[in-house]
Point group: C2
Chain length 496, copies 2
């Protein structure tokens, strides 16, 4: 390896190592940190963010990148690493170090405040922290200097995507989702959702979740499953941590939460171990990340073949809870389509409407068309308009998600993109595995993992998401596969 390449990777690897340190501090904050540690943790996160920023803006790093860009005989791995390093480098060069530190500290503090304010519906107490996060996030967007502030944020999560494209995608998607939702409402057949509200002891829930996750191929010696206020996945490669939360009278919360996070976890565990510390060795984009989690949560774990295998396992794991219920009834219940307040518990049809609501509010917020104090009123009005529901309190309304508190503004569209990518990947997977349903009904989840490993995970960020989609499916991103999937599932459940 040339000297420039060695110097380049030395810094790049440190950036990645410190990024994982940052993640660990965040995991710890959510899962184990004592209450009073919040202020210190904010300082620590700011110090690590500063150290990362200093690495990225180290003149030697810029020189390495410039030198290597002019070298012709590099292999594809090195080329993509240099491309991704340059993206991160040029973004960092535009953002002043003190702003990075201030924003990191504010987000960490706001998140701690959110954890305590949410159960108390205390939006007023949370507001000053949220305002600070918004102010500093606007400053970051201005520093990045895209024509449109929101694009500067999107670029951090889904490079290659912009607000204009999203507006078109979401407009088209909404135009097809609303009639489908109406059709469901008019259907005469209705699932019996109430069967999901029986009591299942936490231990039984956890044991079943672990069983499914391990069957999926998640390596528990290279990961963990814990509890947090808002489920998330953290870490990479050989230390990947999932969280979920347990409601003893509503199994789907923990179960689909854990499967969702395990989908993220399999992605991280499935990266190329020789390249995961490289700039292009990590995950492709947050949209692709969410495609993995939503894939397992919905396309697999809400499918009929999956439950043909796992319903009897569930029955045995939770004696008394589902004894007299048929797999048809259970399958229909977990696919109930019904407007609801909480995004995390939303069905596949209405889920994207939750995302659109958030996308519209956060793009207005970051552009300065609205302010943080307007959010509760606008949230409630928009919920009424899109889903016909009015949140009785903020903890099931504007305060339900951790994202804005943590500064993840511009992230929500990734979930909708994930739904689209996932459905498109599934159609391709079915071409490669024509007997997929048969395998699933026998409990062979590993064939799904193997396909995703090969086609998505191992490729890391060699290409950006739109190109990856083209490589995997031979087509550019489209809303059609998702709509085909949703129509087919609604047909199975509602007979429409």
């Amino acid at each position: 390896m040339s000297e420039a390449l060695q110097a380049f990777y030395a810094i790049a690897h440190q950036v990645q190592d410190l990024t994982l340190v940052q993640q660990l501090l965040e995991w710890d904050q959510e899962v184990v940190m004592p209450l009073k540690g919040a202020a210190q943790r904010a300082h620590q996160l700011a110090a690590v963010a500063t150290a990362i920023h200093e690495k990225l803006t180290d003149p030697r790093y810029g020189e390495c990148i410039a030198t290597l860009e002019s070298v012709n005989d590099l292999d594809e791995t090195a080329k993509s690493d240099i491309r991704e390093a340059k993206r991160a480098w040029s973004r960092a060069m535009k953002i002043p170090a003190p702003l990075v530190a201030a924003r990191t500290e504010a987000c960490s503090l706001a998140q701690s405040v959110w954890v305590q304010a949410r159960p108390r519906n205390d939006f007023a107490g949370f507001l000053p922290h949220l305002e600070q996060v918004v102010r500093l996030t606007r400053e970051v967007a201005d520093a990045v200097g895209t024509a449109n502030r929101y694009d500067a944020l999107l670029d951090d999560y889904d490079p290659g995507m912009d607000e204009a494209q999203l507006r078109i995608l979401f407009r088209d998607l909404k135009a097809q989702l609303l009639p489908l939702l109406d059709a469901v409402k008019g259907a005469s057949r209705k699932p019996d959702e109430s069967i999901l509200s029986c009591r299942v002891p936490r231990e039984a829930q956890e044991a079943f979740c672990r069983r499914v996750i391990e069957d999926m191929g998640f390596d528990m010696e290279a990961g963990r499953l814990d509890v947090s206020a808002h489920p998330f996945t953290n870490g990479s490669m050989r230390d990947v941590r999932l969280t979920t939360r347990y409601l003893e009278d509503y199994l789907p919360c923990a179960l689909f939460g854990a499967i969702h996070e395990a989908g993220h976890g399999l992605y991280e565990q499935g990266l190329d171990p020789d390249r995961f510390r490289n700039p292009a060795g990590g995950f492709c984009s947050m949209g692709i990340h969410e495609s993995q989690s939503r894939f397992w949560e919905n396309l697999i774990a809400r499918s009929r073949p999956f439950w043909d295998r796992y319903f009897s396992v569930l029955q045995r794991a939770c004696p008394g809870s589902f004894d007299d219920i048929s797999v048809e009834t259970f399958f229909a219940a977990v696919n109930t389509v019904k407007p609801s307040l909480i995004r995390l518990e939303a069905d596949e049809v209405t889920y994207n409407l939750h995302i659109m609501l958030r996308f519209e509010l956060e793009s207005d917020l970051i552009a300065g068309r609205i302010e943080a104090r307007h959010l509760p009123g606008l949230w409630n009005a928009r919920m009424k308009e899109y889903l016909g529901l009015e949140p009785p309190e903020d903890r099931v309304g504007v305060m339900q998600d951790i994202h804005w508190a943590g500064g993840l503004i511009g992230y929500f569209p990734s979930y909708a993109l994930g739904n689209l990518y996932g459905a498109q990947f599934l159609e391709r997977m079915r071409e490669d595995l024509p007997d997929l349903d048969d395998r699933l009904s026998k409990g062979d989840l590993r064939c799904v993992k193997a396909w995703l490993n090969q086609n998505i995970h191992l490729r890391g960020r060699r290409w950006q998401a739109p190109e990856l989609c083209q490589h995997v499916t031979g087509k550019s991103l489209s809303i059609d596969p998702l709509m085909r999937h949703l129509r087919s599932r609604c047909a199975a459940v509602y007979g429409i």
Copy 2:
């Protein structure tokens, strides 16, 4: 505040924040990290150590320190901060960054290997990692460049102490300990140690430990108590984490372990909150740190007044375990003096002999007079010589402590220094609190905490340990208070 002072503290605070990040990574490695995460963690620790080293060797930091050294009207706080910053700066300037990274990585890996090799008595499997740690630690000592390698290591834990002073202290101490040990052996009265080997369920042990720790004043909202292979304390100020381990047939392991660590924890929680991120705002030295842990573990929690209050609490917490035992019998049992294999479980008289053995071996090791492969043989021979015992296997011999694996070579003397400082502090405390025993027998542990807060904790590193000792006790460090304490306790227990 002057501009130079502001610039100085900005960097100094980042150093401290990153040091706490490093500690958190270590805590996580011992307590929650999945097995396969070891290699990644080593990279992460190396990246953080490098970031700290870069801060310390940042030319702007050196300039700030030089500028501020020539300012006359600084207050005592700033002066001590600059003094301590200069110490850290000049040490860092001598150690090349790649050596810092390599040694940090090697120590982290060696520690992971130790955790698995120890229960298997696999010294051979551990040896290459230990050799690597020793080699890199020698390189660090050489880079620091003291006349004597071991002094360069001591200086990191106990500034102001050197090998020559320790040899004299330990020689004098041994000369008094051995006759005391002989006297104990010859005593006709013997405690009934067997009463400590009854079964106490883990939950009851933990509940009692938590009760005592909270009575001591440890703030559980600013800390945690977890389990690890080797008990330790980690963190500072509002996020202080203790670990212990539970043996269901030997309560003292968890109990005195937890109290020991809570002694460390009270020190960290008791620092001045306005100064704890300053170079001189943290703990004074490891010797003083161990004085706090050993103080609570032995001087308080093995004292008769303590058990006059807590024995009945223990009896209620562990029904059936200590029902027909008197407080006299229990007090005597927890003060049994008897040569044993494990330092952590050693009594107060033989404990220092365990330390001397380690000190002698590690100073020979670091000087190159012996090599790591010689340790098991030398360990066993020295145990025979000092304590008359031969370890039947390495896990209760040379592999019992985590320190060498983690690169903590030069640390062991801090425990013995802690015993000396602690006893000297206690004599002074008794002057200030003449009714101390009476208070303890009523369960007033907070008066001890308050005295330690005021006299030790809040002072941070304003003075180095020898000066702190002078300030607190009016005298320089001496072995006499410890020997007075040990003779008095042996008299109470053995009637000698």
